[in-house]
């Protein structure tokens, strides 16, 4: 327990006289026995007060102070929260207090996102609906590098093992981001931003053990390269244990051992110049159970115990030159190599991306940003029976222009812009937007926007072939003979076009007091040309469903976030999301499974409450409860069967952090504490229904 120790007051803090007096007066008129209890209570209360009132920053030197992020309080000072968009920022402190050990798990803190763990190394992360292992309407960038895979349009989360201690913040932007980030930011963009090297000086060693996250280790060292440049190196290794099969209770064989190493250097040589050079290398060795696994030899689905080997590396450079008068040029270039070798995907991508941006002021009231970019993507694939893709060499050209006009000084802004892209699949794509931000008074901001965004085709949708099932029927002309065998496939369609959203959003942000703020966003998305598959016109033994733009409809809903620092030792963050999707399939498509699968995969309501309690100066308790409404998923072993329902569920995470000094931090954490195992999502392809097990772990972090 956290009682005062003798001589406790001596270390620099004088408790307010009033509080002491209060305790003294109470004790004067009650009997001795009760007095003892009250004294104890007073000690506790005063000790809590000590935690409340001593300012822990007073002992920091100026270098440390300049690195403290005060963003959480002065959100309005943040350029992004002044944006006319639904933005939620997950800070380093949020990540630390949440006890999460992977990037996708951290994303569950944001409203509007549906984060469902499929297995130890697979997630469905989506914004405003359209969930899936291949959730394709959400763009993800790490320090400006896209990790959205062009093979299937989605993110392989198992290879995004950024060292969480080095994450500065994660900006989750729901809604269309096509104007700024280009294609595929249909329903949102996630920017994972790591700290500058100068903010990660010194050494950090982390070691953890647990029941599910059996090993979590990391090391980082940051140093000064010269008077104007800093650098860091890091290495992480994790071991995630396997979970449980939903149907049989057996081992899901989904363990995963990712390892990642990398560096980052930042320099400010003066004259308004700033540069960054960073790179990573990674490898994830994991197991997976592939079911149903179809082979050319049999019409009975097999279960394959498979090994995943995913590796890659990247190198990114950024250079910025400020030219005075609000003018600046930024050049960014990166190279990314991603390889994956497993039963289904055998692929390699090499991406080169160049990006040039120029900012300038136009008169007193306009900020003009323009940019141009080029991306080359080389993809090579080994054919598997499950999936076949041709080798590709694609180029993407882009240009964008955005003008922010301050119509009424410090009150009203209008931002107009558009991105133009040319890709090898659909040719030219325009993604314009108009945004209005109005601050009627301090602490209040209202915004509204209209935007168009597209999701460009994945390689598989135009040129690929996916084996979905095999079957047999008795031979009608020779019933006594061997049955006829057939294969059901999804095949690419060179005429498959981009999916389109016209998104209308509005929102209100209110900083009610310095300790309490609200953020509300409402949206209406008009979808067109959404993908589905169309059965063949003429019957044949091998059934080839073709990818077509056969669905349209709309999605609407709202998201609320409330941040409340009730006391200096107690804080709450509440997030709530409401979503309704209504899609219809074009009658010409004649597809049985239709649009209800997309609609049912999105929870109508999601609720999250996080609380952080400073129990004593060196003890902190964090709680995080989540509620996810019922959904349904595709039965991957019976494609045309009814969707399989997943009941609504609650997840509870809790952890206790002990920081005896500035160097040492000890955490004991529990994840998914209320359930022994929870089925969160059904993968639409090859992963059998897997319950994510309860996990308990402990870790020690040492900084020196």
């Amino acid at each position: 327990m956290f009682f005062a120790r003798p001589g406790h007051w001596a270390d620099g803090f004088v408790p307010p006289a009033g509080r002491f007096l209060g305790c003294g007066v109470i004790m004067d008129w009650i009997d001795h026995k009760t007095a003892a209890a009250v004294a104890l209570l007073c000690v506790v209360v005063v000790d809590m007060a000590r935690a409340t009132e001593s300012n822990e920053y007073l002992d920091m030197d100026i270098g440390q102070l300049m690195n403290v992020t005060v963003t959480s309080v002065t959100k309005k000072a943040q350029p992004l929260s002044d944006a006319a968009a639904a933005v939620f920022v997950i800070t380093q402190e949020d990540i630390r207090r949440s006890g999460v050990t992977t990037v996708p798990d951290a994303l569950a803190m944001a409203p509007g996102l549906q984060v469902a763990k499929i297995s130890a190394s697979k997630w469905s992360v989506s914004s405003r609906g359209f969930a899936g292992l291949t959730s394709n309407k959400l763009l993800v960038l790490i320090d400006g590098r896209s990790v959205y895979s062009p093979a299937h349009s989605g993110v392989f989360w198992d290879t995004q093992n950024v060292m969480l201690e080095d994450v500065e913040r994660i900006e989750v932007v729901r809604g269309s981001g096509g104007t700024l980030w280009g294609a595929n930011a249909v329903n949102g963009a996630i920017n994972i931003i790591t700290k500058k090297a100068e903010d990660t000086q010194g050494a950090l060693v982390r070691a953890g053990v647990g029941s599910q996250h059996t090993s979590s280790s990391a090391a980082r060292y940051g140093g000064k390269i010269s008077d104007v440049a800093y650098g860091r190196l890091y290495l992480t290794y994790d071991d995630h244990a396997s979970n449980t099969l939903h149907q049989t209770g057996g081992d899901a064989d989904d363990s995963s051992q990712p390892m990642q190493t990398g560096f980052r250097m930042d320099g400010k040589p003066g004259n308004g110049q700033e540069w960054t050079l960073q790179g990573d290398m990674y490898e994830n060795n994991g197991d997976q159970l592939v079911f149903p696994y179809w082979t050319a030899e049999s019409v009975v689905p097999a279960a394959l115990f498979d090994e995943i080997d995913a590796k890659g590396g990247n190198l990114l450079g950024r250079w910025r030159q400020e030219l005075g008068d609000g003018k600046a040029v930024t050049f960014k270039a990166y190279y990314d190599n991603a390889q994956r070798d497993e039963a289904i995907y055998k692929l390699q991508f090499d991406t080169l991306d160049l990006d040039l941006q120029y900012e300038t002021k136009l008169g007193q009231r306009q900020n003009l940003t323009m940019g141009t970019g080029y991306r080359s993507v080389q993809g090579s694939f080994d054919r598997t029976f499950q999936i076949s893709l041709p080798d590709r060499s694609d180029s993407l050209y882009s240009a964008f222009l955005q003008d922010e006009i301050n119509i009424l000084a410090d009150r009203l802004w209008l931002t107009l812009g558009s991105k133009y892209e040319h890709n090898d699949y659909t040719g030219s794509e325009w993604q314009p937007s108009a945004k209005l931000l109005w601050k009627p008074a301090d602490r209040h901001s209202l915004w509204a926007s209209a935007a168009r965004a597209v999701r460009t085709p994945a390689i598989v949708e135009q040129y690929g072939r996916l084996t979905m099932a095999r079957y047999s029927i008795p031979n009608p002309s020779f019933p006594a003979g061997p049955p006829l065998e057939g294969t059901v496939s999804f095949v690419g369609n060179p005429d498959f076009d981009s999916e389109i959203v016209n998104a209308y959003e509005t929102g209100y942000r209110w900083q009610a007091t310095d300790a309490l703020s609200f953020d509300l966003a409402l949206f209406y998305n008009d979808y067109d040309e959404i993908y589905t598959v169309k059965p063949p016109a003429t019957p044949s033994l091998d059934v080839d469903y073709e990818f077509v733009n056969g669905q349209s409809g709309h999605g609407d809903g709202f998201e609320l976030a409330a941040d409340w620092k009730a006391r200096s030792w107690l804080s709450f963050i509440l997030t709530y999301s409401y979503l309704q999707l209504d899609l219809t399939t074009d009658p010409m498509v004649d597809n049985h499974s239709g649009s209800s699968l997309v609609e049912d995969a999105a929870p109508q309501q999601q609720l999250g409450i996080r609380s952080s309690i400073l129990l004593a100066p060196d003890w902190r308790l964090n709680l995080w409860g989540r509620y996810v409404d019922d959904i349904a998923g595709r039965n991957s072993s019976d494609l045309l069967g009814q969707p399989v329902p997943i009941d609504a569920y609650c997840l509870l995470d809790a952890n206790l952090i002990w920081t005896p000094n500035k160097q040492l931090e000890v955490m004991l954490a529990g994840q998914n504490l209320t359930n022994s195992g929870q089925l969160q999502y059904l993968s639409e392809y090859s992963t059998p229904a897997t319950e994510i097990d309860r996990g308990v772990y402990g870790k020690v972090t040492w900084r020196f």
């Binding site: 009132e53 300012n55 690195n67 509440l574 409450i609």
Partner: protein
């Protein structure tokens, strides 16, 4: 599953009940805790003329509405140049402003800024504020938000004119030196 919905409702109710319990929301704690710590550091990197050196205690003043609240708790136990800190709250510039060695000017004084700065012109008082344009107006330290972190502008011309010396290492850290 009604049981799980119940849990969700319970969580929400807990949040709301706790909401009702708290009567008063506290000041923007992190920001002003950090700003309070900056005040100490500013004072430690500055030197005052002989006349001020003889004073037994270091007077740290907050003029106008106090944005710090509990963030200044414990500051009086700290020392500046071997002297104990005396914390004073001034309602107006007439409350003995000339005895202050470090003066934080609250945002409530924005309208009186010109008058305040001319009252103390030439006196060895290190002025600090988060009023925008404070340094340009003749204040010494102005807090500046840089991507959610705090930095500052120093008007060294003014500091020198008042007989104070600000160390080079502090000048190097400033975003702008006037």
């Amino acid at each position: 599953m009604p049981g799980k919905r119940f849990m969700a409702v319970l969580l929400a109710a807990l949040f709301l009940v706790l909401g009702g319990v708290v009567v008063r929301a506290e000041q923007g704690e992190v920001e002003y805790k950090v700003k309070a710590a900056f005040l100490l550091n500013f004072a430690r990197f500055a030197a005052w003329p002989e006349s001020a050196a003889a004073e037994p205690r270091f007077a740290l003043c907050v003029l106008g509405d106090d944005p710090f609240g509990p963030a200044l708790a414990g500051i009086e136990s700290k020392e500046i140049g071997g002297k104990a800190i005396l914390l004073r709250h001034l309602a107006s510039a007439a409350d003995g402003i000339d005895q202050c060695r470090l003066l934080f000017v609250g945002k409530s004084e924005q309208g009186n800024l010109g008058r305040i700065l001319s009252t103390i012109a030439g006196q060895p008082i290190l002025t600090v504020s988060d009023i925008e344009g404070f340094a340009k107006a003749g204040g010494v330290f102005e807090f500046k938000d840089r991507d959610g972190r705090l930095s500052f502008i120093i008007n060294n011309t003014k500091a020198k004119a008042s007989g104070m010396h600000i160390s080079a290492s502090l000048l190097n850290l400033a975003v702008e030196v006037l």
